[in-house]
Amino acid sequence: MAAQSQAEPAASGGPTPAPAVRKAVVIGGNRIPFARSGGKYTYSSNQDMLTAALDGLVARFGLQGERIGEVAGGAVLKHSRDFNLTREAVLGSALSPETPAYDVQQACATGLETVVSLANKIKLGQLESAVAGGVDSASDAPIAVSEGLRRALLDLSRAKTAKQKLAAVAKIRPKDLSPNAPSTGEPRTGLSMGEHQALTTAQWKITREAQDELALASHRNMAAAYDRGFFDDLVTPYRGLSRDANLRPDTTMEKLGKLKPAFGRSLGDEATMTAGNSTPLTDGASVVLLGSEDYAREHDLPMLANIVDAEAGAVDFVHGKDGLLMAPAFAVPRLLARNGLTLDDFDFFEIHEAFAGTVLSTLAAWEDDEFCRTRLGLEGPLGTVDRSKLNVNGSSLAAGHPFAATGGRIVASLAKMLHEKGSGRGLISICAAGGQGLVAVLEAR
């Protein structure tokens, strides 16, 4: 019954990177603008959106008819008919139909996980080129039949005699006919992600004002990035949308301050999380083109950044030992230790804004002496993230968060930022349902 302690001493932080592997580079990316659920992409399926994102990437990098080594993608809200979602999207795209593909699903870490796993294949020499991606539609979400109907139908399909068939049908009750929409609740707790985060936000005493400030910065940073054309070669319009529909360039602290708490209302006066400092349900897709250095050179393609290393983490949130979205707080120190880095060694921090409270709780944890000693096994606080380096071109609070598409959005944007700067490193941190997290380091080139 002994629970595995997360507090492995960071100094002996697990495996070390294999020394002799070659580099995996980010060549570029593409996404469609993110739409609010029920908005412009209401009638687009995951496959439609992923295909559109792929086609934009193909157009940007002239990959028409190209046989890419492998394409990996996925979605969080997935129809059973989409068992081969990514391959179907490839077949519908301008890529060579001889391009293989596979699906990945790791909740909100799906997009980043596709990048990491494909980068590893490139590093090992299994692939020369790869496209990583993800897509999600909250508008076109699957609706499941009730458990009773599902079991009756399965029994019916197995029934051989008329009598057996009648018996199976007779099991169906009127209430079985009402469908089940997907729940945003964690399966093991029944609490929504927002409710979970509300508990963590309260635990770390993150104020409403601090959360609203982070949201405001996200909108302003992203609007400014759009205005200076930063996204010109990262985003391809789709269905009449050329910027993220959630973006509110003119929002203010006053406007954000007027919103009523949306999560954690059971906390009473302590409820601080609103629709303004939480991500809305979003539709969208993103893809990233990866390659070996040789591939990029031979194809005269840019090399924006190296995928240096990545680390996954998970927390025991079920009975509240840790916050649902706090896994990156544990994974980052391990990743840093393995690579001999500190928070001071980064020029950009891309911490996914599932909720403003998630980002701020994570930062608070890294600054907390006791947490870092007892839970991270460090000798003191991990350190402080320079806020001027945090989500400098906006993040999910502004762009929205189509779950599996967020990783690709962040990787492509960060790679471009690093390349523009010409040097330095960026840290990506993405929290995910099920108490998971995936973090990665990119370096400029």
Binding site: A52, D55, G56, V58, A59, R60, F61, G62, Q64, G65, A94, G229, F231, D232, D233, V235, T236, P237, Y238, R239, S242, D300, L301, P302
Partner: protein, 446 residues
């Protein structure tokens, strides 16, 4: 974009009705098809002198049937009227009248092409009169032709051989279906510069081209034609048009670059993209343009300024950067979209006409900067072209506008694209600083 009238008067019972009623009966134009002959019959070469002989040899080299005298009742694909030696108005008659006698035998979609010298360069008034006379007679022939036939002229600057690359390429262009909607126009070949392509089907092989405003309409057609002719094409449009732009790029195996050309760094971004992906840039097509029509009396500043900014100021800025860049080939070619509105003006289009007139001025002034390095810059001035933009014109006005040309119909985006591809080819290097109208000999601004 579909000219229903054109289809009506060319098919079935409605064709007969239109004939009886004496309605204008525009023909379906002969457009380029690589599987079809260059011209739909033998070429009658009229005129005396070295040029006429040399051009006959050139045509024979292109596997054409050449006639130096008309054979009665024989259908002709084209009539070449070589008047380069005309020293006085009296010298024009013989060949011109011979051409006239053969006009009835000109096949549908046939071609009349004159070859002459520029009046402005004439030493004597007699020669100048003769040369300028060609201008008038050619344009009149163009008006007279029916059945989708066209008449255009090649003007050879003093010292330029009739078979110089530019002249040969111009002749081939004018004879072919590529010039379907060009009529009543002159192409001036100013020098012997240029090289003929190894393969006439891929005159742009190995070239890297940029087309702005390529997401739709004429721009997309230009991208397709440049690709057909062998170029690798970078398609450019504003970020908001990215979805259609990507589709065009993927159709032609090019690359899409989303950038607003009014940005100061637009040319830098284009050059960086070209340098990184292809190492060089050879052809730039300034196609992006907008209209913000309003009578001048009602014109506001933003309508005026935005049209000027997109249609001409951006091109000036980009050209400055292009000419200073090592990525842009020394023999680089620039083709810019002007408009017949920029020549003749158009009610409600002062801003647009100013910008397009500006393009013509820019082209003429930039040509001498490019000539020494082997480069060139020209403009194409479309008339009424069937696009999304013209589809927005009220129906009746649109019908009238279509019939207001010798060809009695609107042109297609591909017609503009073909002319641009010709001007962007190395063979056409001798054509520099020119404005070629693609207007079906529109009455406006003739």
């Amino acid at each position: 974009m579909n000219d229903a009238y054109l289809n009506l008067v060319n098919t079935g019972i409605t064709k007969e009705i239109a004939k009886k009623l004496g309605l204008p009966r525009p023909s379906i134009l002969r457009r380029f098809d690589p599987a079809k002959p260059l011209v739909p019959g033998p070429v009658l070469v009229l005129g005396k002198g070295e040029a006429a002989d040399a051009l006959s040899q050139l045509l024979l080299g292109w596997d054409q049937d050449v006639r130096r005298h008309a054979t009665p009742k024989e259908k002709l694909g084209a009539i070449l009227v070589v008047l380069d030696t005309a020293a006085a108005p009296g010298d024009l008659g013989e060949a011109t009248l011979a051409a006239g006698a053969a006009l009835r035998d000109l096949a549908p979609g046939g071609r009349v092409v004159t070859v002459s010298r520029p009046a402005a360069e004439a030493q004597e008034p007699e020669a100048a009169a003769a040369r300028q006379g060609v201008d008038g007679l050619l344009r009149s022939i163009a008006h007279e032709l029916r059945g989708g036939a066209t008449a255009n002229g090649i003007v050879l600057a003093n010292g330029v051989q009739a078979t110089a690359p530019g002249a040969a390429a111009a002749l081939r262009f004018l004879l072919s279906g590529k010039s379907a909607y060009v009529s009543g126009q002159f192409i001036t070949v100013g020098s012997d510069a240029g090289t003929l392509p190894a393969n006439w089907n891929t005159p742009l092989a190995g070239k890297v081209a940029v087309v702005t405003g390529a997401a739709r309409g004429i721009g997309a057609a230009i991208a397709r034609i440049l690709h057909r002719d062998g170029a690798t094409v970078i398609v450019v449009d504003v970020p908001a048009a990215g979805e259609q732009l990507a589709r065009v790029a993927n159709e032609i195996s090019g690359t899409a670059l989303q950038v607003d050309i009014t940005r100061g760094d637009a040319a830098d971004r284009i050059l960086a993209h070209a340098a990184e992906r292809y190492g060089h840039l050879d052809i730039v097509i300034h196609n992006a343009g907008i209209t913000r029509d309003k009578l001048l009396a009602n014109m506001d500043e933003s309508r005026w300024q935005s049209v000027i900014a997109v249609n001409i100021a951006s091109q000036l800025t980009m050209n400055r950067t292009l000419l200073a860049s090592d990525t842009f080939s020394p023999e680089g070619r620039i083709v810019s979209l002007a408009s017949t509105s920029g020549i003749a003006g158009n009610r409600g289009q002062t801003n647009y006409a100013a910008s397009k007139g500006g393009v013509i001025g820019m082209v003429r002034a930039t040509a001498p900067l490019l000539a020494p390095r082997g480069g060139s810059i020209n403009a194409v001035a479309p008339g009424f072209i069937e696009t999304d933009m013209t589809a927005a014109i009220p129906a009746l006005t649109r019908q009238v506008a279509r019939r207001l040309s010798s060809l009695q119909q609107g042109g297609l985006p591909v017609d503009v694209a073909e002319t641009i591809s010709f001007l962007a080819s190395d063979a056409a290097a001798g054509v520099n600083g020119q404005v070629v109208r693609v207007c079906g000999q529109n009455m406006v601004g003739a």
